[in-house]
């Protein structure tokens, strides 16, 4: 445990002593803020229109009330997972590739510490940087809930964030895996980005070509499993998909490290 902590601390230093973490934070917060503003202002506009209609037209009740979850929350969390396509590679590409390039992997490999501890320390640090981003965006979601009178949306906010967290975890673990394959950060980043892009796009196969192929693609697609979270539902099946995805690629990274040792 102490070993994981040692690696974790060093990684966190390295994120925050370089401009990397700050650049990613600005990038992420700026984009989410813009989209949040757009979604929230359209929600407010619709709500106002709805109220006006209610005043002039009695019995207008057949029209549904503008839904905060659908209009704001699902919108913004979908945007977040899309931005993650760019953030995750940048966050994870250096993790092992840089150590290989610098040769410091040789130090780590000869210290009395297990490979899994190295990997977990690094994974947790990337996740911490990522969670930091989510927590900051949490602020404007919470602020918007002040304006929205109905507090019943809070559980949906929680599950949405859980979903975004799980997607991030899956992406980062994939990024670590890609980073373990090469000593070139850019290559690692590109592998991650391209692969995640494919996993995102195959979610559309279902729309073009419904049937078994569409179903299979939908189940592999990292995004198809996300929708339910935005509706305020925690489906253990979907949650398990992300957790297993994370474990799977962390395990693969471990195997790659081990094979590097043999070949080193």
């Amino acid at each position: 445990m102490s070993n994981i902590w040692a690696i974790y601390k060093r990684e966190m230093r390295s994120y925050f002593f370089s401009p990397l973490a700050y650049v990613l934070y600005v990038f992420f917060l700026f984009l989410t803020a813009v989209f949040f503003y757009m979604y929230f202002s359209s929600y407010v506009k619709w709500s106002q229109e709805y109220m006006q209609m209610m005043q002039f037209q009695q019995g207008f009740g057949s029209q549904p009330l503008p839904n905060y979850t659908q209009l704001v929350l699902q919108g913004i969390t979908n945007v977040m997972t899309f931005i993650l396509l760019f953030i995750a590679p940048m966050l994870s590409m250096r993790i092992i590739a840089e150590e290989k390039k610098l040769g410091t992997i040789e130090l780590l490999f000869t210290y009395p510490i297990k490979d899994i501890e190295i990997l977990l320390g690094k994974y947790f640090s990337a996740m911490t940087v990522y969670v930091g981003m989510l927590v900051l965006t949490f602020v404007y979601v919470l602020l918007s809930l002040k304006v929205v009178p109905d507090q019943t949306y809070i559980p949906a906010v929680m599950t949405s964030y859980l979903g975004v967290f799980l997607v991030g975890s899956a992406f980062i673990s994939f990024g670590i895996f890609a980073s373990s394959l090469t000593d070139n950060q850019v290559v690692a980043g590109l592998i991650t980005f391209a692969s995640l892009l494919v996993l995102w796009m195959i979610g559309f196969v279902d729309e073009i070509n419904p049937g078994i192929l569409g179903d299979i693609c939908n189940n592999i697609s990292v995004y198809a499993h996300f929708d339910e979270f935005g509706k305020g539902v925690i489906d253990t099946g979907h949650a398990a998909f992300y957790v297993l995805f994370t474990i799977f690629f962390l395990f693969f990274s471990l195997r790659v490290l081990e094979s590097n040792r043999w070949r080193g």
Partner: protein, 314 residues
């Protein structure tokens, strides 16, 4: 302290080292000598637990490198080739990280770091960023990193490569001082370094150990010849016939130098010291003997001899 038995390492079809066996006693300084690509780094990486051997095994401080890699690593301080370091960290921060990873309790860390820094002479750059240090200081930080945790064994891969002559001298001095109670293995392709620092030398060529001995003995054991160099004030044409009569001389090589001085290089049998006979003979002839000196073969000579011999065998 270290026992290696028939270590073999293959990368795909390429055999990097084969049948490497040796022992290192406690407190000894062993030099790994060999041309680039001979398998020095591979051997060291196996001992340090970086890479497992394809066959054979080794024990370090009583722990098997296959069964007990973590314990082995706890007993080894390793300085890899080219001194990889985290360039974005400051020296103290880096050593703090190393102490943490090596499992030193937080109470002892500060003292250990201070000790390692003073032993490797980097106390005055403690708060500097590693990436901005000179190569000599980087090397010292690498040594300090290896010293943390008080390992019984130090393994140093080409510790003096790329340094200027002053830095090389300082690092050699440091390594000698560090040795004392520790067992040290260092690799190099610079021959004088071995005779300067090491007690014993292991010559590796093309993945095999071709010679292993104490530094002084190696030169004696491997060479049956002894070269003697004379400076005599007499013409070369007179000297050669006069010395030829002495028994035990295998080859005479006379060259006239400036102002009537002749340099004579004799190949003689090592078992018989010819110097008294030579001086008597020359003085008897009425010549001035300016200099007489036996020339022990340098490690360079031995190295080339061994490697050439290897080539003939294969």
């Amino acid at each position: 302290m270290i026992v290696a038995e028939n270590i073999k390492k293959t990368y795909g079809r390429v055999t990097a080292i084969e049948d490497v066996s040796f022992e290192v006693a406690e407190g000894e300084i062993l030099g790994f000598l060999g041309p680039n690509g001979a398998g020095k780094t591979t051997t060291m990486r196996i001992l340090t637990g970086y890479s497992p051997p394809s066959a054979g095994t080794a024990t370090v401080a009583g722990f098997d490198i296959r069964e007990n890699s973590l314990e082995v690593r706890r007993n080894i301080g390793y300085l890899p080739e080219n001194t990889p370091l985290y360039n974005d960290m400051d020296v103290v921060g880096f050593l703090g990280f190393v102490a943490h990873v090596k499992g030193i309790s937080s109470g002892d860390r500060a003292a250990q770091i201070r000790e390692a820094m003073s032993e490797s002479g980097i106390t005055d750059v403690a708060s500097r960023t590693i990436g901005k240090l000179s190569k000599g200081y980087r090397q010292r930080v690498g040594l300090a990193q290896a010293l943390i945790g008080n390992p019984k064994v130090l393994i140093l891969d080409e510790p003096t490569v790329g340094l200027d002559p002053n830095q090389i001298r300082d690092i050699r001095e440091l390594i000698k001082n560090m040795a004392g109670k520790r067992t040290v293995i260092l690799s190099t392709h610079i021959l004088p370094e071995v005779s300067m620092i090491c007690d014993r030398v292991l010559i590796i060529n093309e993945g095999r150990i071709v010679a292993a001995d104490a530094v002084g003995e190696l030169s004696q054991r491997l060479s049956t010849q002894l070269k003697i160099r004379l400076m005599v004030k007499a013409p070369a044409s007179d000297i050669a016939p006069a010395l030829q009569e002495l028994s035990g001389i295998q080859k005479i090589n006379c060259t006239d130098m400036q102002s009537g001085v002749c340099q004579v290089i004799l190949d003689t049998e090592r078992s018989k010291d010819l110097r008294p006979d030579l001086s008597n003979r020359i003085v008897g002839k009425g010549w001035d003997l300016l200099e007489i000196r036996s020339m022990d073969p340098t490690l360079e000579d031995i190295f080339i001899e061994i490697i050439a011999g290897e080539k003939e065998v294969h």
